[in-house]
C-alpha cells in the first residue's frame, strides 16, 4: 500500500472537540479542527494568509465529517451551503450523462476544496463521492463571505481558490481534448505525482484511489484503452504497476511522452 506516503507524512493533525457555536439542534457537537493548527494549512484555505487572519478563520468552527467509501458528500441538485476542504481521502466529482452513464469531471485530494460548482446556480452541479473513507471540513460559504467582507487578505484567499479551481478544471479538460491516449494518461499521472509531491508524499510511488474505469471516464478513454496504455508504459519501462499501485521509473521519459506533441 502507500506506506511511502504514510511514512513521509511528517505531521499529524491535532484533534480537539469543540462545541458548535449556538448549537441549534440535538445533533452531537461537531468535531472541529482549527485552521491555525491544521496540518494542511499550507495547502488549504489558510495558504498564504497571515497568522492573525487564520485565527479569525478559527472562529468559524468548521464542522468535521467522515464520509465512508462510496458515499456521496453532496449530490447534484443539493442546495449549495458550504464548500468542503478534504482532510483525508480522495473524492471523485461526477456528472450524470444524459444516457445514464456517469462522467467523472475531477478528483480531489487532501487540502483541496470541493463544492464551488454550486456557487453559480445555488445548487451543486455535480455529485461528489468518496473513493475511500474520507474526512472533510464543511466551510459555510455565507460565514466565510461575512468574514471576508472586512478582510482583504481573506478576500484574496477566496479569490485565489476560485482562480485555482477554474484553472484546474478548464485547463486540464481542454488540454486533454487535444491529446492522444498516451499523452492523456501521462498528463494524468504527472498531475497526480505533482499533487502528491505538494503534500510531502512521494512523487514517484503512489496508490491510485480511482479505478481504471474512473480514470477512463475522466480522460475520455475507453477502459480497454486505459489498460492497454498502462501496459504500454510498463513495457517502455516508464512505470511499474501492481493493480493500483504505481511506481514511476522514469519521470523524464514520462514527461517527454506528455510533451512530445505539445512543444
Amino acid at each position: 500500500m502507500n506506506t511511502a506516503a504514510i511514512a513521509a507524512e511528517p505531521r499529524t493533525a491535532p484533534l480537539q472537540f469543540m462545541p458548535r457555536a449556538g448549537a441549534r439542534s440535538a445533533t452531537p457537537p461537531a468535531l472541529t479542527t482549527l485552521c491555525s493548527t491544521c496540518h494542511l494549512k499550507d495547502l488549504c484555505l489558510p495558504c498564504g494568509i497571515s497568522a492573525p487572519t487564520v485565527e479569525r478563520l478559527d472562529g468559524l468552527h468548521f464542522g468535521r465529517r467522515r464520509v465512508a467509501a462510496g458515499q456521496p458528500l453532496y449530490r447534484a441538485g443539493d442546495a449549495f451551503q458550504s464548500i468542503y476542504a478534504v482532510r483525508s481521502g480522495t473524492f471523485k466529482s461526477v456528472l450524470g450523462a444524459t444516457d445514464g452513464r456517469e462522467q467523472v469531471t475531477g478528483f480531489s485530494m487532501a487540502g483541496e476544496l470541493m463544492g464551488l460548482d454550486g456557487l453559480a446556480q445555488g445548487r451543486h452541479a455535480s455529485t461528489a463521492v468518496a473513493l475511500e473513507d474520507a474526512e472533510i471540513c464543511a466551510i459555510p460559504y455565507d460565514h466565510l463571505m461575512e468574514l471576508a467582507a472586512g478582510n482583504s487578505e481573506l478576500q484574496r484567499a477566496v479569490g485565489k481558490l476560485m482562480s485555482r479551481e477554474i484553472v484546474r478544471e478548464h485547463s486540464l479538460m481542454m488540454l486533454l481534448g487535444s491529446m492522444n491516449a498516451e499523452e492523456r494518461l501521462a498528463a494524468f499521472l504527472l498531475n497526480v505525482s505533482q499533487r502528491m509531491k505538494a503534500r510531502g508524499w512521494s512523487a514517484s510511488e503512489f496508490h491510485l484511489r480511482m479505478s481504471r474505469a474512473e480514470i477512463g471516464s475522466y480522460l475520455g478513454m475507453k477502459l480497454e484503452t486505459v489498460s492497454r496504455t498502462f501496459s504500454a508504459f510498463v513495457q517502455q519501462r516508464l512505470l511499474a504497476v501492481d493493480k493500483r499501485h504505481i511506481r514511476i521509473l522514469d519521470l523524464d521519459a514520462l514527461t517527454r511522452t506528455f510533451e512530445a506533441r505539445l512543444q
Partner: protein, 488 residues
C-alpha cells in the same frame, strides 16, 4: 462633473472601487494617474478569444473541424458541460457608419428565408456528429441585426434550434435589438420565444451624433421599449454605448450617460470607437475632422467610468459595467467570471458552436471560423460541407497562455501553482520574459507580483487589456519582427 479633471475623478473612483467591491478590494490610496491611462489604454485585442481570430489559419478546414466535433462525442469531461450557441444574422436595413461587424445591408427581407434554411443545414451537420438534443445553457443571437427577421422567421429559427439542441431551463437566452426595428409587440414575441435577455444598440443619444453615424433613434423610443421590456419580465437589459464617435464632446457624451442612467440598464457595454476606414468600408463615410482627438476620447472614458461608478455600477472588466445585483457583477464578486466571444460571461468555459456567416466556434482546444461571404457560406453548405474556412488547433503553449490571459482578465488573479499543476511547467522560467516585462507595470502599480502569483490592482483593471497583451505570444513576436526590421 464637467468641472473635474479626469485625474481627480479616477482617483475618486478607485477609492470607491476599493470600498465597494469585494474581490477588487485594495489599499484605498491606489491611484491611476491620467498619464498611466494614456500610456496603457492602448489599442489591442479584446481577447474574446486567445489566440485572437486574426491568428487563425486557412490550413484548418472543414475536415479538421469535423474530426474535432467527432472527438467531442467520445471526449473527456468537457463534453459533459452544456453548450453555448451563437447565431449570426448578418442582415441590416441600413448601415451605421462606425460598424466593423460582418453584415449585409439590404432592404429585401426575402433574403432571410433562404438564410434560415442554410442555418438549419449547418445545425444538422453539427448534430449529425455530436448527436441531436445536446443541452444548451446559453444562446446569443447577434448580427448584423437579428431583429431584421420577422416574428415568424424568429419563431422558425427557434424551433429549428430546439429540434437540434435541448435549450435548458434557466439558461441565458439573449438577442441584440436594434430599437428601430422593434415594437412592444415584437419584444413580447421575443419573450414568448424564450429570450430572457435583451441587448439594445444605443451608441449615443445625441441627435447630431446619431445623424453623423447614420443611426437615428430618439431617446423616447428606446426609453419606451426598455420600459416595455421590463414589464415583460426580461431578466437583464443591456445597453451598448460607443465613445469616440464623430461630433461627440465630453459634454454631449455626459448627457448621453445621464439619459442611460435614467433607463437604468442592468449592464452597460462601453466601447471605444477605432477609426479604421481602410479595413471597414462604412467608416469611410465618417468625416475624420469631426472625430474627437485622443485626449478628448480619454476624457470621455474617464468621465464615463466616474459617472457610472457614481450611479452605482460595478466595473466588471474591459468595457463592461453592471448593476451590483446583476449576475455578471455577482460572478465578478465571487471570482467566477469567464470570457467568450460575447465578452464577459457567467457561464463556464464550455464548448461553443457558432452558426452563420463569419461565426466562430470553439470545441475543446480548437477554434473554427465560418466563411465571411454569403456566397462562400452557401456553396459549402450546398455541398454538404461545414462552411469552415479558417481556424486553429491550439497547441500547449496557446492553451497555457489562454489560461493565463483568461485568469488575469476574469479573476484578476493568477496563481503560479495552479498553472504549474494543470500544465506541468515551471511558471517563472516558462514566462521569464513576460514576468520581466510586467515589472514596469508592477512599478506603475497596475499589477502586484509575489512568490505565489500575479494580482491585478484596482488601477490595473482599467488597463487589463495591456496586461493581457504581455502574455500574447503572437503580439510579442510581431513586436520583435518590427524592432528587427527597424534595425535593418
Amino acid at each position: 462633473m464637467n468641472a473635474r479633471v479626469p485625474l481627480t475623478s479616477i482617483n475618486e473612483l478607485l477609492a470607491l472601487t476599493a470600498q465597494s467591491d469585494a474581490v477588487m478590494t485594495d489599499t484605498p490610496d491606489t491611484v491611476l494617474p491620467a498619464d498611466l491611462l494614456r500610456k496603457f489604454d492602448v489599442a489591442g485585442p479584446r481577447y474574446t478569444s486567445y489566440p485572437t481570430a486574426d491568428r487563425f489559419v486557412e490550413a484548418y478546414g472543414p475536415e479538421d473541424h469535423l474530426r474535432v466535433l467527432r472527438e467531442r462525442r467520445t471526449g473527456a469531461a468537457a463534453a459533459a458541460l452544456p453548450l453555448s450557441l451563437y447565431v449570426h444574422i448578418p442582415f441590416c436595413e441600413s448601415v451605421c457608419y462606425y460598424c466593423a461587424c460582418n453584415k449585409i445591408v439590404t432592404r429585401q427581407h426575402g433574403r432571410a428565408a433562404p438564410y434560415l434554411q442554410l442555418l438549419e443545414r449547418e445545425a444538422s451537420l453539427h448534430t449529425d456528429v455530436i448527436g441531436v438534443g445536446q443541452p444548451v445553457s446559453q444562446l446569443h443571437l447577434g448580427g448584423g441585426t437579428p431583429t431584421f427577421l420577422s416574428d415568424e422567421e424568429l419563431s422558425e429559427l427557434m424551433s429549428m434550434l430546439k429540434r437540434n439542441f435541448a435549450l435548458a431551463p434557466g439558461g441565458e437566452y439573449s438577442v441584440e435589438v436594434d430599437p428601430r426595428t422593434v415594437t412592444r409587440e415584437r419584444l413580447a414575441h421575443l419573450a414568448w420565444l424564450g429570450f430572457n435577455r435583451l441587448s439594445f444598440g444605443v451608441q449615443d443619444f445625441d441627435p447630431r451624433v446619431q445623424k453623423a453615424v447614420h443611426r437615428v433613434q430618439p431617446f423616447e423610443q428606446v426609453a419606451s421599449l426598455m420600459a416595455d421590456a421590463r414589464s415583460m419580465g426580461f431578466e437583464s437589459l443591456n445597453v451598448d454605448l460607443i465613445y469616440g464617435l464623430p461630433l461627440q464632446t465630453r459634454e454631449s457624451f455626459a448627457r448621453t450617460l445621464g439619459q442611460v442612467q435614467q433607463l437604468r440598464p442592468d449592464r452597460i457595454a462601453l466601447y471605444g470607437y477605432a477609426h479604421l476606414p481602410d479595413r471597414f468600408k462604412p467608416q469611410r463615410r465618417i468625416v475624420p475632422a469631426e472625430l474627437p482627438d485622443g485626449s478628448g476620447k480619454l476624457n470621455m472614458l474617464a468621465d464615463s467610468i466616474d459617472a457610472l461608478r457614481e450611479a452605482g455600477y460595478v466595473y466588471v472588466g474591459m468595457d463592461h459595467f453592471a448593476l451590483p445585483g446583476d449576475a455578471l457583477a455577482v460572478a465578478k464578486r465571487q471570482g467566477r467570471l469567464h470570457r467568450n466571444f460575447q465578452g464577459y460571461s457567467t457561464q463556464p468555459d464550455c464548448d461553443l458552436i457558432g452558426l452563420g456567416v463569419s461565426a466562430i466556434s470553439r470545441i475543446g482546444a480548437s477554434y473554427a471560423q465560418n466563411a465571411k461571404t454569403m456566397d462562400e457560406y452557401e456553396d459549402s453548405l450546398r455541398q454538404g460541407q461545414l462552411p469552415v474556412v479558417r481556424g486553429l488547433a491550439m497547441d500547449r503553449d496557446d492553451l497555457v497562455r489562454r489560461a493565463v490571459i483568461m485568469a488575469l482578465m476574469c479573476q484578476g488573479e493568477l496563481l503560479f501553482e495552479a498553472i504549474e499543476e494543470a500544465w506541468l511547467l515551471d511558471f517563472k522560467s516558462y514566462f521569464a520574459p513576460e514576468l520581466a516585462r510586467l515589472q514596469q507595470m508592477a512599478a506603475d502599480g497596475l499589477v502586484r507580483i509575489d512568490e505565489s502569483g500575479i494580482q491585478v490592482t484596482p488601477a490595473g483593471w482599467y488597463v487589463v487589456r495591456a496586461i493581457a497583451m504581455v502574455f500574447d505570444r503572437y503580439l510579442q513576436a510581431d513586436r520583435q519582427r518590427m524592432r528587427f526590421s527597424r534595425i535593418l
